[in-house]
Subunit: 159 residues, 4 copies
Amino acid sequence: MSVVLPDASEADLDGLDPAHAARVRDSWSRQALLATLGARLLRVGPGIAEIELPVSPHVSQQHGFVHAGAVSTIADTACGYAALTTMDADSAVLTAEFKINLMAPAAGERLVARARVIRSGRTLTVALCEVEAEAGGTRKTVALMTATLASVRGKGLSG
Amino acid sequence: MSVVLPDASEADLDGLDPAHAARVRDSWSRQALLATLGARLLRVGPGIAEIELPVSPHVSQQHGFVHAGAVSTIADTACGYAALTTMDADSAVLTAEFKINLMAPAAGERLVARARVIRSGRTLTVALCEVEAEAGGTRKTVALMTATLASVRGKGLSG
Amino acid sequence: MSVVLPDASEADLDGLDPAHAARVRDSWSRQALLATLGARLLRVGPGIAEIELPVSPHVSQQHGFVHAGAVSTIADTACGYAALTTMDADSAVLTAEFKINLMAPAAGERLVARARVIRSGRTLTVALCEVEAEAGGTRKTVALMTATLASVRGKGLSG
Amino acid sequence: MSVVLPDASEADLDGLDPAHAARVRDSWSRQALLATLGARLLRVGPGIAEIELPVSPHVSQQHGFVHAGAVSTIADTACGYAALTTMDADSAVLTAEFKINLMAPAAGERLVARARVIRSGRTLTVALCEVEAEAGGTRKTVALMTATLASVRGKGLSG
């Protein structure tokens, strides 16, 4: 299977300074799994990020709902970009851990993960993310994630 | 994109009674996300399950490691099948929550998630899963998950 | 050591119907650990609860901060009462799991845990709790918890 | 209330080198909350720790079981000491986060938390802890915790 790479050209990065916006664009363009799932970066601002996942058969689990792993992928990634905006330009971000509560079956036309930084530290950043499912004009919160993101310096990683 | 469905024909289900083995096969065949990622069901026995994910570019994150979301997908699914084997034949299994610690970058040739049930209850089951990365004949534990699985009855779900 | 039992006589339960208010009072009066720690119930309303812990030497850890276990105790209990207000009168509430991020050392004059229900289901309820430390008139968020509460019926438990 | 401080004089520290044993003894002697609850340090060795909590009325919740906060306190502390043994002599240990699954009511004569390090890193260490309840000669696993411990240097903290 050829790898499709995502691009952030449609994302709203207006709230970011140019250096952080460039880093987000560059990092997103290497997020192959997100392209595999069909996710789109909607918006990144200081301490916040939003990612959309259109609901499609190839991200589903055995009952036809979106698989918890796909829900987690967009929530974890949104937490990562929200955290990245609060870090120095020479830091890369890695997820140390996350926990997700899956509160309702994820179904509808699309999911949107909205993350925000709760506390930003030099080494560890904590973010919170809600995932909503949109169906027929209504929204329902289907998942809630808290994540710890580690900033990594000097290991040859970027973004 | 056409949806590729996975099959469990190569999985070792020898430890299961025929009814549970049939349910696992049927359920796995509808796990579209797992096929999208390229995961394979290796083994399901009473209270245990193993899933493999070959490392490939289309499941990677921005630094070239396997994305935490893909790691989570195989670990969560392994927890689900481990739990399913301890449930009644009329129960479906849904993940209520999981937490994953990502302890080292996931790289190498393949990942293997090995889950086991820690406690099986009528409504809630708790499972633990370790994910190992194999590279050049060596193994390294890269992630640790604990999950709560809910058994759901009478909602028209199976597996 | 003689057991001191807490009382909820100073708590603001004005937002609750009389039946739920009576259940909260009765339940709190049996929360011996909360009395041992010196915690006070501040407020319970529909889907929300607040608990205070004065900072004192006997709840500290090795560096003189409030021990993560004491922080967890008030946060978990606040999640429990927030959840209880959304349950039927014949349900008892038990914590199935929680996760807490400890974002800054817990120090100052007092901690306040503020919980709210994110989703209420027949069997499982998810709550979110922030814990703030107050010192010299300033507030700082020191911990963030997500919890799954199970409603239990017909086991002879109340509250 | 006067603060009772714990001591580790009865703990088995035989597996530790003298420097780590001294640090554990010194750290434990300042764990006021553990003394408040009545917990005892049973054993600390390389990468492992065990803490006992006798079941008593003053650590209970509203149904008479041991409160989840008390269960968490011994499990978190056991994770901390297990991690401390893998750190440099100039590091202090702080809990960054933990998640606990409460799998059965905690009752009986005593609880024992047994923690072990799963991965030790320079900054972050991951530990796993099982809590067993002992009643009438039988043991039952009542809780499972995973924790991330941060090693902190140069902040004037010890142990």
